[in-house]
């Protein structure tokens, strides 16, 4: 078995999960570590459920097996529940406290768990719940919520926060570097620095 640190980033197509995974990949390069990843492209991105696998220190395949992820970063409560089985027994979760109901809930009158029910179900994991939209807006742009999430998750990752931040600064559009730097730091505060 490989000694990789496996991170699963999940959300809804269009929320910025791919940029978040690129940040982790770039940070691995800065630190001179191997990294493997897999992501959702194509039609599935049209508002569908999306997942990015990132294996820090990974040398083999890009996919994480269920029950093996060290860390789950989730942009949506319902998606957290959908992918929760990927997490290890002592795995960590960093979750955006936001619930976007799929359109099928309205058109086909499907039942969906409520915000409180989902949070209750997630209580068995080591959970960091934050309002990334609000924090991102405070940092200067709601579009920086993915960077807020990374900031909050930084304490769990085997990458130096300074390197993660450097990677963020390299990958976001130039005119948003300051906002995203602030978003990252505010995310770190929300995640509880250690």
């Amino acid at each position: 078995m490989s000694g990789s640190y496996d991170v699963l980033i999940v959300g809804i197509g269009g929320q910025g999960t791919i940029l978040a995974s690129n940040v982790l990949g770039e940070a691995c390069l800065i630190e001179g570590r191997h990294v493997k990843g897999a992501e959702t492209h194509g039609m599935a991105q049209r508002g569908g459920s999306v997942e990015s696998h990132i294996r820090i220190g990974g040398e083999f395949g890009p996919l994480i097996a269920p029950g093996q992820a060290d860390l789950l970063i989730s942009f949506d409560l319902l998606e957290t529940l959908r992918y929760s089985h990927y997490l290890k027994k002592d795995g960590k979760m960093v979750v955006n406290r936001r619930l976007v109901l799929p359109t099928s809930v309205y058109t086909q009158k499907l039942t969906a768990p409520s915000e409180d029910e989902i949070i209750a179900a997630l209580k068995k994991y080591e959970l960091c719940l934050l309002d990334a939209d609000r924090i991102a807006t405070e940092a200067g742009s709601p579009l920086s919520q993915n960077v807020v999430m990374l900031g909050a998750a930084a304490r769990w990752m085997p990458l130096k926060p300074a390197m993660l931040l450097e990677s963020v600064r390299r990958l976001v559009p130039k005119k948003t570097v300051e906002i995203n730097t602030k978003a990252f730091e505010m995310g770190r505060d929300a995640g509880g620095k250690s």
Partner: protein
């Protein structure tokens, strides 16, 4: 040497530049599209690059360039290779002078495809080599070898990455960019390039004579290799080899197949040194068939004995399961954990403001009891709206419609096809339907772009792959030239007007074409088009649910009232649907 974190397709594209590629053509298709997208969007290019109108056209162009001695790359998804199969089969006979690499990306598990076919079977069928990389780095590294092999044996070469190579990422060691300097020159040689029977019989024999040396060369070059570590062995190819390597216990021999055809003598020697072998590969039993031919009495574990599946994609969990079942691994290191059940699914959905949704809604309203053949594109998602009855392959909406219409089926037939798909293989079907007098309605969904695969331009866009202006084709004129007399353009955001045109079409005999023109909402957003949002007046809303049934992701329903969220792009179709007049532009009443 440069280290980068790259998508498989980006790494492949870069490797082509390192090999000094001169000519690039292809048709977009998930998971292959980003190879050309990477090549066409580079600020400096020393090579020619085009999006062709379909894969057959792309391959014939690339083949001709390779006949002229330059290095050519042609890209497509696996099902595109079916469209290009005609030139493919005979290109093996004519061969090439410059290297020709045909990238056909497979999609095990059909993440974004209509089937799970295996490109390696085509290579076998055409008797040309095929590369099957196991990782992003290997995909990158193999490209140089693929061009060299193509030139050494004067054969087109297939390159088969799968979704988990194309759309996976890794730290990749890149080489230096090589500027293409070759200039094409065609040397007339009818015996090579004019495949009349007298010539082609000779060419077929020559193709067969190339095979033994080809098989040996793939071993000599290290694309196929092994390590003997014990009495039992695993043979793996493609991404499956990466999964096996992560799990492989000490004391088990390992053979990695990276290219075809496999040297049978070499393979037989390896198999005979073991007491049993397990074959791990995705989709077809291409490797396993040959292993069985040379295995003699050595037991072979694989698909044919029920240990591995013929369909779907492999995963670490699946490979571990196969290894345990076949006795190559003591215990599965992954615990089978069930996902949480009964969660509402979140499939992909047409965007808020997408033109397709309003077209489907209008079709369903005017043609209540009709058959709805459709095609390949974002609009296949019209399935969720009950407006897609068939999808089989590119261009088959129009042909399936005319087939149903001529079968005696008494109901109306209304088919939908996107602009890029119409230009890909839709035109011939329309010509055929008119020629043979079918009664049907064709809806062309014209958003001016190949949207689903990532917004590639097509002849309808007004610019080439590299952004050079080109004359946008007139879909209207094409339809009229095919002999259609009823050709009407509609704005799908004008729902009421569109319904009237549909009602008119319904009254007429023959082939009727309606062209719905509206920019893709994603392109419109990128172009800075702002239409403003709409909102529901809760006082006026009766909670009837009409707008909810429209299926727009911007419309939600809570406490017996509809509400519009921030996804609204201002198409205003729901305003026209609401029987209570409760929806208006935000901030206005």
């Amino acid at each position: 040497m440069e280290q980068n974190y790259l998508l498989g397709n980006e790494a492949i594209a870069h490797a082509c530049i390192e090999s000094g590629v001169d000519f690039v053509s292809g048709y977009p298709g998930t998971p292959s599209s980003e190879v050309i997208d990477t090549l066409r969007l580079r600020p400096e290019r020393s090579y020619y690059v085009e999006w062709s109108v379909n894969e057959k056209v792309a391959l014939e162009n690339a083949l001709a360039a390779a006949w002229c001695g330059v290095r050519a790359l042609c890209t497509m998804k696996h099902v595109g290779l079916n469209v290009a199969a005609d030139p493919l089969m005979t290109s093996a006979y004519t061969g090439v002078t410059g290297g020709l690499v045909i990238l056909s990306a497979d999609d095990p598990f059909a993440h974004s495809s209509q089937n799970e076919q295996d490109t390696r079977c085509y290579a076998h069928f055409a008797r040309i080599p095929c590369f099957d990389p196991a990782s992003v780095q290997e995909a990158h590294d193999m490209i140089a070898g693929a061009f060299e092999l193509s030139e050494e044996f004067h054969l087109p070469v297939l390159f088969r990455p799968t979704t988990r190579i194309c759309h996976s990422k890794g730290d990749v060691q890149l080489g230096d960019v090589q500027e293409s300097t070759r200039v094409g020159e065609f040397h007339k040689d009818p015996r090579q390039y004019v495949v009349i029977p007298a010539h082609t019989r000779v060419l077929h024999k020559k193709l067969n004579e190339k095979q033994p040396a080809l098989r040996k060369r793939l071993v000599e070059k290290g694309f196929n290799r092994y390590e003997i570590r014990g009495k039992i062995a695993i043979i793996a190819s493609g991404i499956g080899a990466s999964y096996v390597q992560e799990l492989l216990p000490p004391g088990i021999s390992f053979m990695k197949i990276g290219a075809y055809p496999i040297d049978e003598e070499w393979l037989g020697d390896f198999v005979q040194k073991h007491e049993k072998v397990l074959v791990i590969e995705e989709l077809a039993p291409e490797v396993e068939e040959i292993v069985r031919q040379v295995a003699g009495c050595v037991p072979v574990f694989g698909k044919k004995t029920g240990y591995a599946p013929y369909e779907g994609e492999l995963s670490p969990l699946a490979v571990a399961g196969i290894m345990v079942k076949a006795g190559f691994l003591e215990k599965n290191p992954f615990s089978a954990i069930e996902p949480v059940q009964n969660l509402p699914p979140r499939p992909p959905i047409l965007c808020a403001g997408c033109l397709h949704r309003s077209v489907f809604y209008a079709i369903k309203r005017v043609f209540k009891d009709a058959i709805y053949p459709s095609d390949i594109g974002c609009y296949t998602l019209g399935l969720q709206l009950g407006a897609v009855d068939t999808t089989i392959c590119m261009g088959a909406s129009i042909t399936v419609a005319s087939g149903i219409a001529h079968s005696g089926e008494p109901r109306d037939v209304v088919c939908t096809i996107g602009d890029s798909t119409f230009l890909h293989t839709g035109i011939q079907g329309l010509l055929n339907a008119v020629y043979n007098g079918a009664n049907m309605t064709v809806f062309i969904l014209d958003n001016r772009i190949t949207a689903m695969t990532g917004h590639q331009p097509n002849p309808n866009t007004g610019q080439t792959a590299c952004g050079v202006e080109s004359p946008p084709v007139s879909l209207d004129a094409i339809c009229r030239a095919c002999g259609v007399s009823f050709v009407e353009g509609v704005d799908p955001y004008d729902y009421t007007g569109m319904v009237q045109v549909l009602q008119e079409a319904r009254k007429r005999k023959g082939v009727k074409v309606i062209i719905a023109k509206q920019m893709c909402v994603i392109s419109a957003r990128r172009a800075g088009v702002k239409r403003g949002r709409y909102a529901v007046d809760p006082e006026a809303c009766t909670g009837c649910g009409t707008c909810v049934r429209f299926g727009c992701p911007a419309i939600e329903f809570a406490s017996e009232k509809a509400q519009i969220n921030e996804l609204c792009s201002g198409c205003s179709v729901c305003v026209q649907l609401c029987p209570a007049g409760a929806i208006a532009r935000e901030g206005k009443k």
